[in-house]
């Protein structure tokens, strides 16, 4: 008997998924390997080379302090990608079980969880970032938590919707009929059904988180300088855009590339799983 191709095989067959995966892999390697790949440390100042044009010693130029733009962009990407991935992971881990619980158990549990989620929804990410920065100080953790607080409600709502529809299916009744308790049914029969939509949404939300992290850094709510970050570098070089456009273009293009890669991956996965445009 012909075995149906597994989900992973089907996903890999899609060019969109393949190329975006490849791009993401390259981005991860470049930024995580920045310590070895980048020609200079990200904070090495060479006052004589301020606004050095691309070429020669500095492949894509130097910024106002004579720091190598390539090195800073590579190092800065680490922060962006880590924040994007961690914030999404945290949001998935909090939001999906909560939402699935609300959808499957229903009643008062659903009411309480849904109200908490509703309450989180209207807070702008900037406000949350300011609060977490005040409470937890500068650093990766406060940015990650602020972003995951913004993302959690979306995952919770999606998981709730999915759990609500799964709970109506006969195999849930059959599972109850074979003596499985609520916790086991959630774990074995409800959560696995959330996997596909969660994976797609998570991929798209990494893109969103990278963009949001860049915006926060741009506003000075990310890691404080001289730590390299795409948003922060963009902000620092903004005034020199006409004089030395490479200082702005490099981090700007990097953000675009990263967001594009994750968006394409999410899009590609959605096509493969064929679950329509219901989410995000």
């Amino acid at each position: 008997m012909m075995q149906r191709a597994s989900v992973a095989q089907r996903a890999w067959a899609s060019a969109k998924v393949r190329y975006s995966c490849l791009l993401i892999l390259v981005l991860l390697l470049l930024t995580w390997g920045a310590g070895w790949i980048a020609p200079y440390p990200h904070d090495e100042i060479d006052a004589g080379a301020a606004f050095h044009a691309p070429g020669g010693k500095y492949l894509i130029g130097a910024d106002a302090l004579g720091r190598d733009v390539l090195s800073r962009t590579l190092h800065g990407g680490r922060m962006s990608l880590v924040v994007g991935l961690l914030a999404t992971l945290l949001a998935v881990l909090c939001g999906v079980p909560l939402g699935a619980l609300a959808g499957y158990v229903g009643g008062k549990v659903d009411w309480v969880i849904s109200r908490v989620v509703d309450l989180l929804l209207p807070f702008p990410v900037i406000l949350l970032a300011i609060v977490t920065k005040m409470l937890l100080g500068d650093g990766l953790v406060s940015v990650v938590i602020a972003l995951s607080l913004v993302l959690t409600p979306f995952f919770a709502r999606m998981a709730r919707a999915k759990a609500l529809s799964v709970a109506q299916l006969p195999f849930i009744e059959a599972a109850q009929g074979s003596g499985l308790g609520t916790g086991r049914i959630m774990l074995m029969h409800v959560l696995p059904h959330c996997f596909q939509p969660v994976l797609i949404m998570a991929t798209l939300s990494v893109a969103f988180a990278i963009l949001a992290e860049a915006s926060l850094s741009f506003l000075g709510l990310g890691l404080p300088p001289p730590a390299p970050s795409w948003g922060g570098d963009l902000q620092a070089s903004m005034s020199a855009f006409q004089l030395a456009p490479w200082t702005v273009l490099a981090p700007g293009l990097a953000i675009t590339l990263a967001v594009l890669a994750f968006n394409f991956l999410g899009d590609g996965l959605r096509d493969v799983f064929d679950i329509g445009e219901r989410f995000l």
Binding site: P170, Q176, G177, S178, G179, L180, R184, H189
Partner: protein
């Protein structure tokens, strides 16, 4: 007097859904190795009875009275933990649509293994060995492939066999089969029924076979109970029900069935005009009166009581009560 309590005994079970009575005074008894067939049209309360036994009534439905005893132990009002032991443990349940009742994203072996672990604490190699035994017992001989398959990779008949294996995993004493063959074609259906028959004999299981189809019940059950609008209207040994139905509804059901084992196939089928009364409508009188060919005005006024005809049969119809001959 039998010293052992019957495997399942239900007495005067009543269930309400938002104030409307959907089960009224349902009583039945099944002994070990015995098969009871529960017949009636859709919506008459057959499935509700099965769900009430397991404490799995849908939201909004409440038990209004009665008792459900499994080997003498009361199930109504039992704790959720105790009920979880019963479900899939002492009572195995087989549902109507095997395709929809198996989790589509979980391999068959794992789903059955889940029950083996939950009810018998079997893990690892012991679980695999027991799984193989169960699959062989239900006639799935290609055990390796079936255990690794996802539900959609199996045919309907194989899915139902897998469901039966799952129901057997907890070594039940009672098997409830709710329309086990409705979703299957005729040949597969009779194979599944034969399998249930064999299992009942070999394991000494009590079997509650629920169906809307008299042909499914006929020849495979010791006793038949006919339900109408939430009430049991007739109960008798299977052979006698088909040979001489006492209740007009049973007679009408038989007249509307194309072929029943042991009874010659018919060419003229007669429909039962009218419909089941909606739940919650007035309960005065006989619920079948509006569709009954023998109905008299009194049928709409007086609710029939259970009339015992012989030691093992009874009927709920005014014909058998005193005063019928002189009533109008």
């Amino acid at each position: 007097m039998n010293a052992q309590p019957p495997v399942l005994s239900i007495e005067a079970l009543a269930v309400d859904i938002r104030g409307a009575r959907v089960l009224d005074g349902v009583s039945l008894m099944i002994g070990a190795g015995e098969a009871l067939g529960l017949v009636g049209e859709s919506g008459c309360g057959k499935s509700m009875t099965a769900l009430a036994i397991l404490g799995l009534l849908p939201r909004g439905a409440t038990i209004a009275g009665g008792s459900v005893r499994l080997r003498g132990g009361e199930l109504l009002g039992a704790s959720e933990d105790a009920l979880c032991q019963v479900r899939g443990g002492t009572v195995g349940m087989i549902f109507q649509e095997p395709g929809a009742c198996l989790d589509p994203v979980m391999r068959i072996g794992r789903q059955i293994g889940e029950s083996l672990q939950l009810h018998r604490g079997l893990r690892g190699a012991a679980q695999q060995a027991e799984l193989r035994k169960l699959l062989l017992e239900v006639g799935l001989t290609d055990t390796e492939r079936v255990a690794r398959a996802y539900p959609h990779e199996l045919s309907g008949g194989m899915q139902q066999r897998a469901m039966i294996a799952m129901a057997l995993a907890g070594e039940p004493v009672l098997l409830i089969a709710d329309e086990p063959t409705t979703a299957l074609d005729a040949r597969i259906a009779s194979q599944i029924l034969d399998l249930l028959d064999t299992l009942r004999r070999e394991r000494g299981l009590a079997l509650l076979l629920i169906s809307h189809d008299l042909a499914v019940i006929g020849g495979r059950c010791d006793r038949v109970m006919v339900m109408y609008a939430g009430r049991v209207v007739e109960s008798a040994p299977a052979a006698r029900v088909f040979a001489q139905a006492q209740h007009p509804y049973t007679a009408a059901l038989i007249a509307a069935s194309p072929g029943i084992a042991g009874v010659a196939p018919k060419t003229d089928l007669r429909d039962i005009p009218g419909q089941l009364p909606a739940p919650g409508t007035a309960r005065d009188g006989c619920a079948f009166a509006a569709r009954c060919t023998l109905a008299r005005p009194v049928c709409a006024e007086r609710t029939p009581r259970w009339s015992r005809l012989t030691a093992d049969s009874g009927v709920r119809c005014l014909q058998y009560e005193e005063g019928w001959s002189c009533s109008k």
